[in-house]
Amino acid sequence: MGPYPASPGRRERRVYARRGVLVGMVTSIHQLDDGAWVSVNDSREVNVSDLWQLARSDICDCDPTDFLAEGFVEVSVACGRVEARIAGQCIGCGTDGVTDWLELGRADPDTGAFRSVVPSSVHVPDRRRRLAAKE
């Protein structure tokens, strides 16, 4: 695993104007401490050390890839959906690498509260594009 690419935390700003009243929501995300965890709205939400079950990942041929999260390489947020690319390795075969974008959870647009996905359920990296692609 090489040095990770640049990954400043991104800040999403969605602002709705309704009858002249500004209703705003900001989802602030950072990956901190050498990518050890992801902060959503200044609250520690997702840590390294979880095992993620990945289907159709590019990491290895295991099905599913039993992926140990060792570091968050990039984080992103769109429409409250928090995603990350995670460095780690499949503990089944030992192959290491960086995942494609994985959904970590969603931040409530009104309260900012974060609901995490369950890492041990099955996830498909870069789901939206993969599902749209022909088999």
């Binding site: 040095p3 050890a36 902060s39 050390s49």
Partner: protein, 595 residues
Amino acid sequence: MPTKVEGWKDEAYGNEVRERIYEFAEEGWESIPDDEHDAWFERFKWWGLYHQRKGQESYFMMRIGTPNGVLEPGQLEVVADVADEFARGPADNPEFGGAVCDWTTRQSIQLHWIKLEDIPEIWDRLESVGLSTQQACGDSWRNIVGCPVAGKDKNEFIDAWPVAEELNETFKGNDDYANLPRKWKVSVTGCSEGCGQGDINDLAFEPAVKIIDGEETKGFNIRVGGGLSRKEPRLARSIDVFVTPEEAPDIAASCSALFREHGDRDDRFNARIKFLVDEWGAEKFRRVLEEEFVDGELRTAGEDLRDEYTYNAGHNHDDGEGHADHVGVHEQPDGNYYVGLSVLVGRMSAEETRELAHLADEYGSGEVRLTQRQNIIVTDVDSDRIDGFLEEDLLEYHSPEPGVFMRGSIACTGTEYCSLSIVETKNRMVRYGRWMQDNIDVPEGMTNFHTHLSGCTASCAQPQIADISLRGMKTRKDGEPVEAFDIGLGGGLGENPQFADWVEMRVAADEVPGYIRNLVEFFAEAREDGESFRAFIARHDEEALNGLVEPEETSYTDPYMHNTKMTWYPYAEDDDMGSSPAPTNGQGEPLPSDD
């Protein structure tokens, strides 16, 4: 584009943050704006305060930087008192109790469970005796490491302590070097044994001699770009420069200014100077240093002493060479003695620490020193009093004559407090050490066997430079996820430093002691006459080492096999994350949740 952390640092960083910490402490934890937590906790690091991991919100690790590991008379007792009074959390550790002091691999001190509201009082007490938390963490000059017995070592080539002391005075609190792209670790070695471990530092002063104006001059060669973090270990590289002790602050200023100006602020993963040295090479580094950051010409390197290095070099202690660590009783040049105590995983209770401070006063000068092997040294013990000191009860456990497996064991902080770690570390290494001591026959002549256990790739326990390297990992056992380790072999420093080869991957934590026992037994049978463990490993290639012996369950039991990171505190009776009392107020009482 500069990282978000750089943006926070631009807004406020360094000395100016202290006043805000005082304000937050006065007004309480809840006065830190919710949407500014990440920014402030990043800035707090510069003042030695590291917010503890998820489930322990509002509590901080406090690091005290002790240059060269030197604690002057009176300082250790204050550390013990502060730990006793302020470093107690909501639950105790079953091995160590409720208030502990950690001696780190960079000769610093770490206290845990520190509450924001107590910080001003703690700073008052520490600073009243000359101790400081300034720049103990964060992106600047960190605690300067070196020979822990500098000035008191019979094998000393040059006294490194005044140099380390001057560097500390020059660069601590110095606004010109307060905001660097990343941490900046400096080592000063003055002995012929190499115990400053310069090879794994960003900037290393290594003892050397050079003929200047016809005179043999003692000083230092300069190396840059060493470090172990992530999976990118590097040995510091020579830039072919010699300086005298008097010139050390100037060259240090030049090197750290070069890092300040040319280090990567766009990518924290690529920011350490080791990557700049990778990119430029030593020759370009030297050229840019000379052209842009130095007045006049740099001298070429002098003759070094690296072929004499014995520290963590894989030798045995009785082979007539210099020391491999500082444990044991050693005569000082002044006829007094220093006594190095083995502190398993570098952790002592506040009570033990206070007792040691009293013993250091009673038998020595009151000074103690911390080593890079997480041990502690009592200096200046009068020759007439050495026997009395050695009979003290405290030395039965923290012994100057420990068993070989206890002597060589190092562990980082781990999931007990640290956000980065994958696994539990210190309590586990204590259990490993005891089991190995009781269950593994020590091969003849083996006095040196280093096991370094690190919870993740950050490598705070320096796993790559050990006989047995353990790096936190996960695996499945009977289908269930359990804590595990990658195992490396053959690392160490010395004349020919070598990083470990990782040969057994994802070994369940409860099978590691069996692996080590099998390996030591194999070594005992297959070694050549008098061969050291490191030499034995070195004559096998990685392929031969892979599968040389098998991991195995034994009588060793491991209470931390579950995912300790998912607990709020791994040893709490109810360790469920939802049962965490954090965050708490200044009295340690849970604060109401926002939900």
